[in-house]
């Protein structure tokens, strides 16, 4: 196009208003294109052969140049023209996409952004000519001898060449861009308010219809009800944005930093489609940038250092986002040098943040957490890149301001991971609705593993109890159970008493690393629910993670799966949720010895076991040989007096052993007593009376920890839940109790 035929905006647009509107559109579109431009330039740098990337870049620059011409932004037009010429040569395979060229093009993108900001502010392009940048763009159009190496492009065929230089309106846009439209935020907020008022009117109509006897009115009101709820939910959804929009600038940031510091960093991004409410997106933009800067600046080593430690020279920086249980999780992870705990300790002491004595006591994890302390920075020299005085403490306070939390996990030499959790004020998560005590509760589907119904003929088995704690055997796992009704202080869902074959509904859930079963009264539908944070007055209740409005307009509470798990089980509280415990089994397995266990029954159906190597002999004594002497019942055995005791006396403590009503003779049925003869010390024997010997089995490799003293753990042996007793501990207790009550044994 030459000067004469170029159309000027003044020829076409009727008024200043029209021009302004056009400029607004131009700005909005161009900002978006520039984000894509960065992305494409980096892609091209990574893969200089990428015809797709170069075509995209060319299109973007060309479009902006065209609009500049139309709007008479001559300086910007000159800049984009120079860039376009350079890009054209690269696209046609005549020049290589070198780092230098890419850097200049990236700079050009920045310059265009600056110019756009000036246009946005003043309506005109200002005075900056970017002449030096233009000169560099022109200079790089010259070929240097050592470049025309392997990387050349297949030149695009004339078709696409024609298309890309044609009228911007007929550009080949990607399908994704076509399926979305841009809507002003204020319009959306206005919609929300309208819907709110509609809901009020709906409520009134539904109320009145309920007392009318007009059936068709009721039906219509019900339809109105459901449609309004649906509409409300969808309008709220419009406020959600994918986190990718916050992340879009980060790859460029990483690239520039890495280049400046002579490091090689590869970025892996997962979950950029994870959605957050608009307001939160703004709040985390800076913290994320800071964490990323920190990772490259402090975390990642130089290629030389990495090679020296046997790592790949190129470091990996991972950004991950995902929804879990009504929160957005964002991870920033590097495989760099990790937090140097010694350095942290020394620095903290020298800054007076902790005393040397405190420093010795602090665990590695405590020291890791120190980086969130105000005034703490591991940079001895504040580098240009990381900025001054902006510490990780500011990151934490920014995140906590929107109600989120941040944690760090690090291993020296291996890397560091920051994990941010932000409760979603508006998030839609799939959930399962359950009932307990006539109320409905929502369980986030992400925690849901399966549903089990016990007590039918098919499943065959019911709920068993270990001591008082209900458990369920699920495919050879012992699943601890939580009774939702009981936990909420209401009517328990489980019938009390030992074991039950009554039908029960169990929702198998996973909270962090733990699995457990939630016993409920019933299960309703799955639903997509909008998560609302817990009101101020309810924040402290750990059973609930938030609230939601179900399809019929009623409020339901959302269960906090992690909170329920830790409340109900004998697990340590908050610590269990810290990253440091991930990877350690929270339920610390108790290692059983290799060897065998002797399984027996006690008090009817309870199964117990002891280590076979602690038992000298199994004997049966006829009742008439059992004698009472002094402190308890005994029998003469191989020239010794063998004291006898029942299991529950051992487990129950001194009162049970020696109090009134104790005495093994009381409970013996039949002709004789089955006795396990246990050698409790070098010259002390103890006879433990049991009901029936069942079997000898191999000891399992681990036990589930039990809740009471004298019991080493529980396991499923021979198909039944069995308590494995610690006989040494129990017999020592017996002896001590005997001493305390009756003095030294005869």
């Amino acid at each position: 196009m030459n000067e004469e035929t170029r159309l000027r905006s003044s020829d076409i647009l009727e008024s200043a208003d029209e021009r302004n509107e056009f400029i607004q559109d131009f700005l909005v579109e161009s900002y978006e294109s520039l984000d894509r431009l960065d992305h494409d330039l980096l892609a091209l740098e990574g893969d200089p052969e990428s015809a797709e990337a170069i075509a995209g870049i060319f299109r973007t620059v060309h479009t902006i140049k065209g609009a500049c011409g139309f709007l008479a932004f001559t300086k910007l037009e000159r800049l984009t023209h120079a860039a376009e010429s350079l890009l054209g040569l690269i696209r046609d395979g005549l020049l290589v996409a070198t780092h230098e060229r890419m850097s200049v093009l990236l700079e050009t993108g920045d310059a265009i952004r600056e110019k756009l900001a000036v246009i946005e502010g003043t309506g005109d392009e200002g005075s900056e000519t970017y002449s030096s940048l233009v000169d560099r763009l022109k200079a790089l159009q010259a070929d240097s001898a050592d470049e025309t190496a392997a990387h050349t492009f297949a030149s695009p065929d004339s078709e696409s060449g024609l298309a890309s230089s044609g009228d911007p309106d007929h550009e080949n846009r990607s399908a994704a861009a076509d399926s979305t439209i841009r809507v002003d935020v204020q319009v959306l907020d206005g919609l929300m308010t309208l819907v709110g008022e509609l809901v009020l009117a709906r409520n009134q109509i539904v109320d009145r219809a309920a007392v009318q006897h007009d059936a068709s009115l009721k039906t219509a009101a019900q339809r109105l009800n459901l449609l309004t709820s649906e509409l409300q939910e969808r309008v709220m959804k419009t406020r959600l944005q994918p986190i990718g929009s916050v992340w879009s600038r980060l790859p460029r940031l990483v690239r520039d930093l890495a280049l400046a510091e002579g490091k090689r960093v590869r970025m892996v991004i997962e979950g950029e489609e994870t959605e957050l409410d608009r307001s939160i997106i703004e709040a985390i933009r800076d913290p994320l940038a800071h964490l990323v800067r920190n990772a490259v600046d402090h975390g990642v080593e130089t290629p030389g250092e990495r090679a020296g430690s046997g790592k790949a020279q190129e470091a990996t920086l991972t950004l991950r986002a995902f929804h879990e249980g009504g929160q957005v999780n964002i991870e920033v992870a590097d495989d760099g040098r990790g937090i140097e705990t010694a350095k942290v300790r020394d620095l903290a002491v020298s800054r007076g943040l902790i005393t040397p004595e405190q420093a010795i006591d602090m665990s590695e994890r405590d020291l890791h957490l120190m980086i969130f302390t105000p005034g703490f920075s591991t940079a001895d020299v504040v580098t240009n890149v990381s900025g001054r005085g902006v510490g990780t403490d500011v990151v934490r306070s920014n995140i906590e301001r929107v109600g989120g939390s941040i944690d760090v996990q690090s291993r020296m030499g291996e890397g560091t991971t920051f994990r941010i959790k932000i409760p979603l004020t508006l998030a839609i998560i799939p959930a399962l609705v359950v009932t307990s005590g006539n109320q409905r509760y929502a369980v986030p589907q992400v925690n849901l593993l399966e549903l089990v119904r016990t007590g039918d003929e098919e499943s065959g088995r019911g709920i068993e109890r270990v001591y008082d704690a209900p458990v369920y055997r699920l495919r050879d796992r012992l699943l601890p159970l939580v009774d939702l009704g009981a936990e909420l202080g209401e009517k328990p869902s489980l019938p009390s008493g030992r074991g039950s074959d009554a039908p029960a509904t169990i929702v198998v859930l996973r909270a962090d690393e733990q699995q457990f079963g939630l016993v409920v009264d019933g299960v309703n539908d799955s639903a997509e629910i909008v998560v609302k944070p817990l009101e101020h007055y309810l924040k402290g209740i750990d059973a609930f993670a938030g609230a939601t409005i179900l399809g019929d307009g009623r409020v339901a509470l959302i269960l906090d799966v992690v909170g329920l798990a830790s409340k109900a089980m004998d697990a340590p509280g908050d610590d269990q949720r810290h990253l440091s415990s991930l990877g350690e089994d929270v339920a610390e397995p108790v290692t059983g010895g290799a060897g065998s266990l002797l399984v027996f029954t006690n008090a009817g159906s309870d199964r117990m076991a002891v280590r076979l190597d602690l038992i000298e002999r199994l004997e049966v004594f006829a009742v008439e040989y059992l004698e009472h002497s002094g402190s308890g019942d005994v029998v003469q055995y191989r020239g010794e007096i063998l004291p006898l005791v029942r299991i529950e006396e051992l487990l129950g403590g001194p009162e049970a052993m020696f109090g009134p009503g104790a005495g093994p003779l009381a409970g013996i049925v039949g002709d004789g007593a089955q006795v396990l003869v246990h050698r409790a010390g070098s010259n002390r024997l103890l006879g433990v009376i049991v009901d029936d010997i069942v079997d000898v089995v191999d000891a399992p490799s681990s036990l589930q920890p039990a809740g009471r003293p004298g019991v080493a753990g529980t396991a499923v042996l021979d198909g039944r839940v069995t308590e494995v007793l610690d006989l040494d501990e129990l017999s020592a207790g017996h002896r001590d109790a005997a001493f305390s009550l009756v003095g030294a044994p005869a």
Partner: protein, 147 residues
């Protein structure tokens, strides 16, 4: 010009600054919250917003409402967002400028005493103005539901 929204709770007349009242609505579908403070009756759906409902009888230490009486909702604005106060009945909006008043009556004892700003002496009855900020900010764990 000072106007109070008035309502009755356990046959006494109470009032709060009208500028703090967002709206008054009829008895609402309530979702109870187990394990919450005793005076939290539950949650209601107010045009898509989930609002906590606080029973004023319990908050003020007054006897429980009779079963057949459905409470009205006085939705107020507080630092923590909206809160719905459950009351027995709604009264008129009253102008209190120029009406004689005194502090909380001597006979008023217990927690309720801290929540009373002043007592207006109307012609036919006493109007107790509540200190709304104190009402919506319970400091203690009082009012626990007994299991």
């Amino acid at each position: 010009m000072s106007q109070l929204t008035t309502f009755s709770v356990d046959s006494s007349l109470f009032g709060i600054d009208i500028t703090r009242v967002q709206e008054i609505i009829r008895p609402q579908e309530m979702t109870p919250v187990p394990l919450a403070r005793g005076d939290i009756e539950g949650l209601i759906n107010l045009r898509g917003q989930i609002v906590t409902a606080m029973d004023l009888r319990r908050r003020l230490g007054l006897p429980e409402r009779p079963q057949e009486m459905s409470p009205m909702n006085v939705v107020v604005r507080s630092d923590h967002g909206l809160l719905s106060l459950l009351v027995d009945d709604i009264g008129d909006v009253l102008e209190v400028d120029g009406v004689a008043f005194a502090g909380p009556p001597e006979t008023l004892r217990g927690e309720i005493r801290d929540l009373v700003a002043r007592t207006y002496m109307l012609e036919s009855e006493l109007l107790i103005e509540l200190d709304l900020d104190r009402v919506v900010n319970p400091s203690t764990q009082a009012g626990q539901k007994t299991p």
